[in-house]
């Protein structure tokens, strides 16, 4: 009984983290939300009786994917700019 309520709570947390990762314009927060999705997926995989898959998702999805995204953001821009449709003369080089 408490098992099922726990799975529901984890699924709602995962879906809200996914919506936050898509909507947010500051890319650092979006990448951390992707890490939270992988973390909750690890717990759900363990509850569905699949321990090998949970280990792999924890090692690869949480640690390595987040660090590769962070290095990419450090080498490029951090904020996602607003695109103005009426401003066709905006120069991309600042």
């Amino acid at each position: 009984m408490i098992y099922l309520i726990l799975i529901f709570f984890l699924l709602i947390l995962m879906l809200s983290a996914a919506v936050y990762a898509v909507v947010q314009k500051d890319l650092l927060y979006a990448v951390i939300a992707t890490g939270v999705i992988s973390l909750v997926l690890t717990a759900v995989f363990y509850m569905l009786q699949a321990p090998d898959v949970a280990l792999t998702e924890a090692a690869i999805g949480v640690a390595l994917t987040t660090i590769i995204f962070l290095i990419t953001i450090r080498n490029t821009k951090r904020h996602e700019d607003d695109y103005n449709k009426k401003d066709n003369l905006k120069s991309p080089l600042k």
């Binding site: 979006a30 997926l41 699949a50 995204f69 695109y83 991309p92």
Partner: protein, 124 residues
């Protein structure tokens, strides 16, 4: 009471994985920054893996490992074949994400912008 809750759980887990696929697809189709598109692809991967493992679940089942003392418990084990497929899929999804991000770094150094519309318009 437990049976009704289990029925709601069935809709819950399938619905959550399909919603994850749709949210990732929305990010790929609508957003303009290249890093957001790659984040969307990573979310789609997570949704697909959850869907595959949920199909192989058996009610009241246990993990497919024959520990000492449980050698005759083969009738109550969950399906091990989707787990082997998802193991491969996670590693390959990570490889694709890594190559896509390195392409984004090169693209930024050349064009100094990350929007797909600007990159389409700039000439050499």
């Amino acid at each position: 009471m437990d049976d009704k809750l289990f029925e709601i759980l069935e809709y819950g887990v399938y619905g959550a994985s399909i919603l994850l696929i749709l949210i990732g697809l929305y990010a790929v189709l609508t957003k303009r920054s290249l890093i957001k598109i790659v984040i969307g692809m990573s979310i789609i991967d997570g949704g697909i893996h959850l869907l595959l493992i949920t199909i192989g679940y058996l009610k009241g089942g246990t993990a497919p490992i024959f520990s000492p003392g449980y050698e005759e418990a083969a009738a109550q084990m969950v399906d091990p074949v989707p787990q082997a497929l998802v193991l491969t899929a996670i590693v390959i999804g990570f490889g694709v994400t890594a190559v896509a991000l390195s392409l984004i770094i090169r693209l930024y150094r050349h064009h100094h912008t990350l929007e797909i519309d600007e990159i389409k318009r700039l000439k050499w």
